[in-house]
Symmetry: C4
Subunit: 428 residues, 4 copies
């Protein structure tokens, strides 16, 4: 049993202790091998680090430091400084009528750090806002005398039946916003049959996330290739074992972290070592080239591949040449988080239709970024997308109300559903 005072003396490269879940660990030995860098740990040296650790690391990480256990800390002395995640939203979920309202409700209850990570986008957020605006500027051409009794949302993605043509894009750090984390998102998707892509940097392990999923629930797993390839190969091996995960999504639109100023600003205010974004990108390999990467990947996965982050028709054509190993592409500018003034996915979609319509026959074309209305989704589908992804909305829903918040988010897509059948026939 240690006192806080005793622990606090161990805050250097030579001796670095941290308190996690009421226990004291000597992490001096892993400073140099920490994927987030030594400084990210030293910032918490000699201190309570549970919250910070917990939100960022899957629980399995604890196994890696079990052998560093030193003892417990006197419980009355522990203090958790940021308890915002325990607050709950006051507005009942049923009063939230659209994604703007869900985001606003979530913003009230989450920590600044979570807000900074979720809300931020590159530079001036031009791409982030244009992503949505691009959909709003596309007008429908509604036909009349169309039987609107039934509107079938079910579709087939990469050969798997899903309940709706809307999937959850890979978004890291769900536990920053709500303790249910990515597992809560999975649970929220379940009643809708919604497909979820698990982020490489999810705050829960893929095994945990899919644990309760029925055989019919479909998942993908996102890969950021690590500089240390062995780490990625280990993860791919684990993913190979998970039946629920049907494909691997290779992220291409973020070789380095975007300049996300909201995230950086929060970080500066909190005086931490580095922003969430920066920490997540430590270890990511910015050197990927096409043939080498896909060759390597084919040796380590048993799943088909989806390439995410295609932003030009030239790259769409190149990707389609790797079919059927590559089964799909996601047109995406990473939610505007990577390179500001990168084009909205729906613009890239139009580019593909004009310059290489045959690509749609060789790979499935999905889009994400900026979709906040059922009408946005319908437009993307009318213009040729097989499915549309939502990233931040899933996080905002989770943050606003846990599993029920995710459900409310997906539910809000249905409000315009019957109209979809009308519009499907003619948009574009």
């Amino acid at each position: 049993m240690f006192t806080l005072s005793e622990v606090s003396e161990h805050n250097t490269h030579d001796s670095c202790w941290v308190i996690l879940y009421g226990k004291v660990y000597d992490v001096t030995g892993i400073l140099n091998s920490h994927p987030g860098g030594a400084q990210a740990i030293l910032r918490w040296g000699g201190q309570e680090a549970t919250e910070e650790f917990d939100m960022i690391h899957p629980p399995e990480t604890m196994k890696e430091i079990e052998q560093s256990y030193l003892g417990t800390v006197e419980p009355q002395e522990r203090s958790i400084t940021d308890s915002t995640t325990e607050e709950i939203t006051e507005a009942p979920l049923s009063t939230l009528l659209n994604l703007d309202e869900i985001e606003a409700a979530a913003t009230k209850v989450i920590s600044k750090k979570a807000w900074g990570y979720y809300f931020s986008a590159a530079d001036d957020k031009i791409s982030k806002y244009l992503n949505t605006q691009a959909y709003r500027s596309i007008m429908f051409r509604p036909r009349v005398f169309v039987d609107c009794r039934t509107c079938e949302l079910e579709t087939n993605l990469l050969g798997h039946k899903v309940g709706l043509p809307i999937f959850v894009s890979p978004t890291a750090m769900a536990r920053l916003g709500h303790p249910a984390g990515e597992r809560g998102i999975a649970e929220g998707c379940r009643p809708f049959g919604g497909l979820q892509i698990i982020a490489n940097n999810s705050s829960l392990s893929p095994e945990d996330i899919v644990e309760n999923a029925p055989p019919t629930q479909v998942f993908g797993w996102q890969l950021y290739v690590q500089l240390n390839r062995q780490l990625s190969e280990n993860m791919l091996a684990r993913v190979n074992q998970l039946d629920r995960i049907k494909f691997v999504v290779l992220t291409l639109d973020a070789p380095v972290s975007g300049k996300r100023e909201d995230d950086e600003r929060i970080n500066i205010q909190a005086n931490t070592a580095a922003s969430v974004s920066t920490q997540l990108f430590v270890g990511t390999d910015p050197s990927l080239t096409r043939a080498d990467t896909l060759q390597w990947l084919s040796q380590h996965t048993t799943k088909p591949i989806v390439l995410k982050g295609i932003q030009t028709h030239e790259d769409a054509i190149l990707a389609s040449q790797y079919a059927p190993f590559v089964k799909g592409i996601v047109l995406s500018n990473h939610g505007g988080r990577s390179l500001d003034t990168a084009p909205p996915a729906v613009h890239t979609l139009l580019e593909l239709r004009r310059h290489c319509p045959y690509v749609f026959d060789k790979v499935e074309v999905w889009v994400d970024g900026g979709i906040r209305r059922g009408t946005d989704a319908v437009k993307a589908l009318c213009l040729g997308a097989k499915a549309v992804g939502i990233g931040r909305p899933a996080l905002w829903g989770l943050a606003a109300g846990g599993v029920e918040g995710v459900e409310r988010t997906l539910q809000s897509w249905f409000f315009s559903k019957l109209w979809s059948s009308v519009a499907f026939l003619t948009a574009g």
Copy 2:
């Protein structure tokens, strides 16, 4: 004679009483056949429901429940919670210079529920605002040396002489805003010779609305085809008997209700069973197809048909093939209330002129949506429309000042009237 307390116990599926106009009715027997659903009645089970009932149902509905009469309620106990419709506007109508000011004056005096129903439009109201903006972005090409002494507003619609080329579009629930209701609108139109289309969901019966109209006053009647066709056939039979009603308007742009969030939000705040929009759409048939519907309609009406809600030139061509049974079409996106980002009528009008100008020879082409200035109307007429409809403006006028408010609304169109004759010659 019942006490409120006695009545209040009957609020279940097994025994449901309501108080209407000081009288108690047992409505248990009609719960299942109620077009608005059982829940819409149960919400008021055991309570005073006069105001809610009154605003939504034509008086004739009382006949259908006459046999359910149980007795009276002690008068001192009655309470009407929402008396806003009795307030009157403080600004004299003559000081209101345009429709924006009339709407603002009306907004001050009507109930939130009425405001929510009148003001709301689908999703982000993009189409609602674009409807008006589209007119503002069309520039005139005014000619000079044109004799502007007389400006003849009289025109001929479907063979009937009317005093102006502006008609009142079908708008439901006029009594939500003012007790004079649709009958007040008819009275306001009278001095101008304005044509009025009576809404399927008008809060007064068509017989009541046309009761005082001289033989020269022209009306249409709007049809939302009901799932229970017998209900629609009964109404068509009644309409056949009304000489003042010269045509039937089949609404096609709202097979299901739009997602009108202002309306929903008010509803949530008031904790009622469903929003006004939702209640109105219960029973509406979303399955209409062209040949079947027109065939059925031809068997039940003696009037010519106008198809409302055409939004593409393809559908305009198809409609014109049913001439002369179909005598006119209304280009409309339902005031932006149905599908957000549906195109403004004036854009569809331009589309018709480019792709199928011959349609104008086969059917009369009317437009509505977003018209708030005399110049807006002139532009639509210059571009080929035979008449332009105003929906919300008639409701706002009525709400702001009853019959005189409607007159003021129509009067405001005249301010630019002489100019019209100049512009008529050359716009477009």
Copy 3:
């Protein structure tokens, strides 16, 4: 000598007295022949009407009622309600850097009535603001290595040398804003050699306005043809006698008054019989046609004609066919005051250049409306205009500081003057 009480009894059609400059007049006999209508006088029946009369009528009007003189009113009882025109601006003129600041300074010191008349434009003021915005959206193509030592502003208009290519457009009611009136504008133009067009409804007589002008100062006179042609013929005869007036400007862009809501609103608040605009338009002939009007005009004037208000190239071509009787045209939408969404003059200018460039050889083409910067003027000149007119800016300048205010207004055009010589060569 009358008391106010005695006078106040004479306020009917049968006996109508007014007090003007401390004297009582019986105006019963002229009620029916008053150009502004009987009601405009009856509004002041039995009351002090000096201020209202003074601002609107040239002094010579007093001669017409000399024979109606009854006596004086006890001086201590007189009251002038609105003395705002006596206030002076607090900001020295030299601190006002541009026309926006001059307008703001004027707005502070003038009466609401004057502001309403000067500021107002038709409907939503779309044309008024677009007039300026149209210039701002035209980009220069500046050339370098151009000798900018001298920038000659002098030019020749209709054969007369003027000091700058900027003229004062006809603007009525200058004394509403400042007692110096149109004569003050003339004085302010003098040091710059600026041409002034005297408004038909100027608040001083043309004889007064040109009284002190040297032979080299150039004026035009604007004609609104009156329903009572004799009135116009009388004025033309007087103008024929004035050497300083070199041409007659026939106004074509306002056959009826525009719907100027700011003006109307002020009027409603002040509870007067009619707005300034409405009063000015009483008696104006809205029936003018080309051949008849020009034929009639040629019989009554010895001066060349300029047609103001051309807004299409079709009308520019027609006007040019009357050269050389018609020596010039002014492309104008009446400062946006007449028909909202009429096109900015610079757009019409571009239309002429594209469709009928030969018109520039037959008549001089001037523009006005929205010009507020030297760069705006340079653009119009580069695009083919011979001169540009400013209307409101002259009134704002006068109102802000009398003669010096007009000078400051014209001076502000010079700030960019040397640059003009660069830009002249290449814009367009």
Copy 4:
């Protein structure tokens, strides 16, 4: 030793004394030859003028008035009214994430006069803001599978190796914002290998500015040709002696001063003789023509020439005909400070690519104006520019934090650096 009172009596054309650095000078004899005009001195006649003098004149100017020295002034009586330049920013530089924040921080600490001079642009600042907006409206076309490990910023300008393709445009009066002045900018550029163009009106002499520069640091020197050519020839002779200065930049986009109202407004408030801009332009020759000027220049400089202020492809072609004497051109609208609605440089860049791509082979094409993000710079480079200049950002950085502020400014360009390598390949 004089008292302030004694000095204060000498404030006329006949006897004009000023106090500079605690010493009294009789400047009567130089009133008429002062480049800024006699009035600019008389404004300070009989007064303490140190601050005003110091910020505007290089120290060497003191030599020219050494012989006018009269004596000292009693130190306790001296007063410096404006001490704002001594304040320092409270926000640490490391918290400033972009140029907007650096500008905001600088604005807080500099004098109004400095702000007015730095911030101001011509007329309505349309070109100033469009300069930036033009970049933001250009979208990237990012390619994927590109190795982003290294991003080489080094480049070669006019044959000289520089550390980044971003140079400091010539900006006068750096000491208005910070005592380190242009020398501080040079020091801030050093660690980045950034090229700096020294302004003709720099507040330190070129000799002072380059004094500590290593042989590898590259400078240019900007020339405003003076009416008194001897003054320019003297300066060119001095520049010829400075090895660090590799080229002369002839400014062509400001033959006269723009109408910079912010600067003028501050000047009016301070009641000084003339604005900073106006003072700087006294003596500038507005008459330059191509052949004569370049012929003259070739006789007085040993350095290659860069022509700054090209705004049309016609002038770019003409400039390229003087290669290799003219080695480069800078597309520039003088930061929007000269002629409002002049085109953004990036638009001119596109014009060159369309109309005269061969120009890029004959001269180096640089751009400046409005660049505030790494992505802006990348776009200009992708579109064919060899280098991009920043003017105000260097001043704001210096003002916000001296040498470190300049470094922070340049550092902020790096944030997007790796992305550059991706984008380089495909933008445009």
